[in-house]
């Protein structure tokens, strides 16, 4: 896939979100409710633990939650199911007849769809955090969190396309979608920092890609200046991209042999 095609796909999809802001408003409302509830709960939990939970204070946890939720809520919720439906119904055939990587165009399009939402949600969440808890624990860490957020949604989108490719064999990716979301919830650090997980689960999460999708930017936004998290994300993106392209490619070949 050429850079120009990638840029056009991102741009076209971004324009779509901006031109029809209704979906953005709904996502924003949902996001604000979720982060208000979760950050409130975490502040109470921190308060009952002498103001510190595994190194996170109340302000840090609030910034953690607004960032981890922005990274996940900004992505189209039914993405795996929708991609799976397109594969199962044969609608993907139109895309296979273009001289470009199907998964490349799709990921670029979804990235374009996600980035404007991500920006709006994170800015709104940041304002809310500043009002209810206080400013960012370390502004420098926020500079790292911003690119980390883009890497997080990129990793998530690639992984979701790879999972959705199960529909080439199963015809329906609905169950895979459910499992995937739960994995991001827990081992991705979406609602709970990984340091607060039981030891075994925390160790397991180190070896799973989900931490690149929420935990990494959230930890940076919480004030931990750990640039290695970005490198880790880039590594996971490379691994996920290789995996997703391989699975999608195998699915395409299966479609060619078995039919759709």
């Amino acid at each position: 896939m050429t850079r120009r095609a990638f840029v056009e796909a991102v741009r076209g999809a971004s324009q779509r979100v901006v031109a029809e802001p209704g979906g953005l408003v709904v996502s924003l409302a949902f996001y604000l409710v979720i982060v208000a509830v979760l950050s409130g709960l975490w502040r109470v939990a921190v308060g009952t633990n002498d103001g510190n939970l595994a190194g996170y204070g109340a302000v840090a946890l609030t910034w953690y939650i607004i960032t981890s939720e922005a990274a996940t809520v900004s992505i189209h919720t039914r993405l795996i199911a929708d991609v799976g439906d397109d594969i199962g119904s044969g609608a993907i055939a139109v895309e296979l007849l273009r001289p470009a990587s199907v998964i490349g165009v799709r990921v670029a399009t979804e990235l374009g769809r996600t980035l404007p939402k991500l920006l709006v949600l994170w800015v709104a969440g940041g304002l809310m955090a500043a009002v209810v808890a206080g400013g960012p624990p370390r502004p420098l860490a926020l500079l790292l969190a911003a690119p980390s957020l883009v890497l997080a949604v990129t990793a998530n989108l690639i992984a979701q396309h790879g999972v959705a490719a199960a529909a080439f064999w199963l015809r329906d990716a609905g169950s895979a979608w459910f499992l995937y979301l739960k994995a991001v919830f827990i081992t991705g650090g979406m609602i709970i920092p990984l340091e607060l997980l039981p030891n075994g689960l925390e160790r397991a999460s180190l070896f799973l890609p989900f931490r690149a999708m929420a935990y990494a930017p959230a930890r940076l936004a919480a004030g931990f200046v750990e640039p290695h998290l970005l490198l880790e994300q880039i590594g996971w993106i490379a691994v996920l991209a290789i995996g997703a392209v391989a699975v999608f490619g195998a699915g395409e070949r299966r479609l060619q042999v078995v039919g759709g």
Binding site: T2, R4, A5, V7, E8, A9, G12, A13, Q15, R16, A19, E20, A91, A93, V94, L96, L97, R98, P99, A100, V105, T109, L255, Q256, V257, V258, G259, G260
Partner: protein
């Protein structure tokens, strides 16, 4: 040569173990389409049309046989071939429904690697050809089906394909939109030399767009000739409609069947294998009672339905 297929075969196996079934979707298909032809590729449901089109566009591997499209083996060179062919599969949209057509064209132009300077010119040129310029800046979702199909065709033609594969392109369109779409295809073929390979259940699509008809059934070609010749040769029957100014007796020659007979009108079907049409007309016109005579071919639906009943060549 635009398309050349020899012994193309596709077998699907469904079910497991004892319940395993073998479906011969395409059987030993031979097909040659020259550059610039307008071919209707027709057959009843389940005849193997879509499967063979999927093979010819590279979406499916054949089980056996060979095919080249524009000199490329479709299933081995799918992406290279995609740059040279256009496909329009019924209701499957080439456009991103939430975008305007122009935004979709920009994405497609990037995907097909069109020259940036040429892109606006090409879009404008197609807009003029398809009379669709006014539609390009409206969201696709707000377009009527007829308007959308013109925009779809623009998308399909953006990269100047040498062959158009059209699978039921007029399905769902109203009569005016269908007619307009057919005219566009013919104009495209005549002005730009684009080869048209069309499947449709709509006989008017075949009649107005195609010069040649290839009929497939049970995965095999059962007829391949000019559309006009198909009509002429396959049903040697004519319908004779006579307006009368006075009552007459209907002709009684062999092969003549009276469909309607009143004091003012007479409708006959004549099997010209048994009695030449001239003999029937001579008898009718031999007297002062006839005011008007017309001889028409039977409807193409009837011709095609008869072909579908035939065994393979």
């Amino acid at each position: 040569m635009a398309i050349e297929a020899r012994g193309l075969t596709k077998v699907f196996k469904t079910g497991r173990r004892r319940a395993r079934k073998r479906i011969d979707a395409v059987r030993d298909l031979d097909l040659v389409v020259a550059d610039g032809e307008r071919v209707a590729y027709i057959g009843p449901n389940g005849a193997g049309k879509s499967t063979s089109i999927k093979i010819l566009t590279g979406l499916l591997h054949p089980t056996a046989g060979q095919a080249t499209v524009l000199g490329l083996t479709p299933w081995e060179d799918r992406k290279r071939l995609a740059r040279r062919i256009g496909t329009l599969f019924g209701q499957r949209s080439l456009l991103w429904l939430e975008l305007t057509p122009r935004q979709s064209y920009r994405m497609l132009a990037a995907i097909y690697g069109l020259d940036r300077d040429d892109e606006p010119r090409r879009i404008a040129e197609l807009g003029d050809l398809l009379d669709a310029v006014d539609l390009f800046d409206q969201p696709v979702r707000s377009l009527s089906l007829g308007q959308r199909m013109r925009c779809e065709l623009t998308a399909c033609l953006l990269h100047d394909p040498e062959i158009l594969f059209l699978d039921e392109p007029t399905i769902g369109l109203d009569l005016v939109a269908k007619q307009r779409f057919r005219e566009l295809l013919v104009r495209l073929n005549e002005q730009q030399g684009t080869t048209i390979f069309l499947t449709s259940h709509d006989v008017a699509d075949i009649e107005h767009v195609a010069r040649r008809a290839v009929v497939i059934n049970h995965g095999e070609v059962i007829y391949d000739d000019e559309v006009a010749a198909m009509r002429r040769a396959l049903l040697a029957t004519k319908v004779v409609e006579v307006g009368l100014i006075a009552p007459i007796q209907a002709p009684l020659q062999a092969g003549v069947t009276v469909l309607e007979h009143t004091d003012q009108a007479l409708r006959l079907v004549v099997d010209t294998h048994l009695t030449p049409i001239r003999v029937v007309l001579d008898e009718l016109l031999d007297g002062p009672a006839v005011a008007d005579v017309s001889v028409v071919d039977p409807p193409l639906e009837q011709v095609i339905a008869e072909i579908y009943e035939r065994p393979a060549r």
